[in-house]
Symmetry: C2
Subunit: 431 residues, 2 copies
């Protein structure tokens, strides 16, 4: 019979503080649910002075081994982020017989196999719900609730910073730079926003989700990534007019040609459940061959939402400790599926062109699309820009070589001054 | 080491057939995930002739004891629906040492304590994900993923039939009777639609969800229920005009005055994530003190979606069998919370009145509201109906006695011909 579960936190920042606070706020219920006492016994910090506020409640240390070598600590909660030394600390904890709960998307996306192997070898639990989607339950639903399905499609808004920026651009007409400044002022974007705006954060998360959904290891390198830096107020305004929202989507598909995983800005029909996900909210849309369409929605980051996910994992481990049986659900990557060749990936496109304003231009452009064997959903001649005019085309699904082909053809047309932007499109479907 | 898990199905109808089909379609992956073989060994049906299509794959029987007394059957899957004999069969199965998975909302909502006690006594698993929200993962997320939260609000669209009807009324202008006929023609509504349209189906589901969310047993009798039969095209059209959708909501709140659980049609702001849940889709919106707002969306019924949830539970039990440890998460009703007294329940109201068309009417009505101490969000004089005119008022939050009071006052006014309808309102909130 377990009397008291002791937690060692690696990291006393936002999420660590959240875990301590939520455990304190909801202590009575959490204790009731796990059937024994639970406490945060030590927290690893870089600077004890800076975290003095925590020192009334927990023991602070600057030496990781004070936690990793402490025989009384049952669960190590890794909240440092980044690969090193988080990875080494987690491995050491597991080798010392401790269960590990983490919010670290970098380690899971890039060194997933290593940590799962260590968990298996040491017969300990390794849990990572908080690594994707903040407080949104998504790893557990995938590993348990939807596990009877063959999952074919997973589409997520998994980066709150960029979703906030795109919401502001759409609803308040801000340009990219202003939206970024606003996000930074609100604390939603870092001083160096690269990982968010270039799609790398979303790529790590979709690597984790698709590995679980498709039962094959997808690493960060397998994800094609494109950020939102080229999105202009014009694109967003055309999207609206045509019945679309512009979202940075993480898209993962299990196709007959292989696994296709990518992150890119997308024109999404207004009627799609993901289109109304606003501001810093995240959501993951999943299609399974039994369940059909499902969606999971909530706050993708923040002190308490992320702590909610971390504590759910801690409580799950505690329930396993009560039964003295670990590793109920191990790594689920039991297959090695191949990636979809780039040329088999198909998608619709929005193409915005600047063209000469004279008769016959539309015909010349339509002919070029025809020569690339691209069928058009719509072509619209839009506003004037100085002595030129703008044309917006939406294509039906095409493959990569068709898109490369049409780029060359359009650039070769005298009447085309520039291809201003190309953004992928998901077409509306009937219900 | 378990070699093969044998399932006995009670019921070979829609969901039973779905379970057999999905297990067949996804057999390879399911076997891989549980680490052993699995098969449906017997199915209880009322009429073997009628289910001849199944008899190639499984053994059919009309005698429940062929399953309940079969020592080789590990898991009994109860899909009969209704209280009797489903309850007795489940209890017998557990007393014979079998795990039970069910989709039966009636038994869980009304005899939850009995089945949980039997599971505890016999150290077997009892699982019921499919009893609420069809394929939507909701029970497992509540019991595991959100378990570190104090849940304060749970709002669900948990009846697909009525959501389909209200969608058709809103989008195609159908009246109630036509929408019901359409739902019946599509197979979404029964010949006797009472349980759906009067809100009883939703009431059972919210009793189950709120028991888990608030850790106290809420039974069907604790739920205040009002159906959609009084909703007219006029109400829906006013709702639209005022920026609302009309939805049949299951609302459960954990307030300082007690637990408040009810089912009723509601004016919901268009900006609320539940407002865009269309047709037969279901969704459950949950607010926790750590996670904030979350939502779970998907198909609330149907052969394969429900089978997805049933099989998730079966796989969970199989994973427990692999570890030979059961009851990781037992009944979570460890408290006895009181219900909120009716007079403490507060809500906004939409009130549609038919009044005489003469000067001073609006003033008289506004005065009546003032005397009931009801503050108005808006009062709008609307269309003409013969020689009368219609007035629509939206109130801020009021309690029950204020609503009873204003009814009397309005009925006593000479200028008021009738109170045409009163529907609860959830007000838009800032973000």
């Amino acid at each position: 019979m377990v009397k008291k579960i002791k937690l060692g936190l690696l990291g006393g920042g936002t999420v660590g503080t959240g875990v301590i606070k939520v455990l304190q706020d909801n202590y009575h219920d959490i204790k009731e649910k796990i059937g024994c006492d639970i406490e945060v016994s030590k927290v690893l910090v870089r600077n004890v002075e800076k975290h003095r506020a925590l020192s009334d409640m927990v023991t602070l240390t600057t030496n990781a081994d004070d936690i990793l070598e402490d025989k009384e600590i049952d669960i190590v909660v890794e909240l440092l982020g980044g690969i090193h030394p988080a990875l080494e600390y987690m491995l050491k904890a597991m080798n010392n017989g401790k269960h590990v709960v983490t919010a670290n998307k970098d380690v899971v996306a890039q060194f997933g196999k290593d940590v799962f192997d260590a968990a298996e070898k040491n017969d300990v639990d390794f849990m990572f719900e908080a690594s994707v989607g903040g407080g949104i339950p998504i790893i557990t639903p995938l590993k348990q609730s939807l596990t009877a399905n063959k999952i074919t499609d997973l589409i997520g808004i998994v980066n709150g910073t960029t979703n906030y920026m795109l919401t502001k651009m759409a609803e308040q007409g801000m340009d990219y730079a202003t939206a970024l400044q606003r996000a930074q002022a609100k604390g939603y974007a870092e001083a160096d926003p690269t990982a968010d705006v270039e799609g790398l954060d979303a790529a790590r998360k979709v690597a984790i989700l698709s590995s679980i959904a498709f039962n094959t290891r997808i690493s960060l390198d397998d994800v094609k990534v494109e950020g939102i830096t080229k999105i202009t107020p014009e694109d967003i305004s055309y999207a609206k007019e045509l019945g679309f929202a512009v979202k940075l989507l993480a898209v993962a598909k299990n196709t007959k040609d292989g696994i296709d995983v990518r992150v890119h800005p997308t024109f999404l029909p207004k009627s799609h459940p993901l289109a109304s996900v606003r501001n810093v909210y995240n959501a993951v849309f999943i299609h399974g061959n039994a369940v059909g369409d499902t969606m999971f929605y909530g706050r993708g980051a923040g002190e308490k939402p992320t702590a909610s996910a971390v504590l759910a994992d801690i409580i799950d481990v505690a329930r396993d400790m009560g039964k003295d049986r670990f590793g109920r659900i191990r790594c689920t990557c039991y297959e090695e599926k191949k990636l979809c060749p780039p040329d088999k990936v198909r998608s619709g496109y929005y193409i915005r062109l600047l063209v000469e304003d004279k008769p016959g231009v539309l015909g010349a452009i339509a002919t070029a699309f025809g020569e690339s064997e691209i069928s058009l959903h719509s072509v619209i001649q839009k506003r004037k820009v100085a002595d030129r005019s703008e044309i917006v085309a939406i294509t039906h699904d095409v493959n990569n070589s068709q898109i490369e082909d049409i780029k060359v053809r359009l650039n070769n047309l005298d009447v085309v001054s520039e291809i201003s932007n190309m953004i992928r499109v998901i077409m509306p479907q009937g219900d």
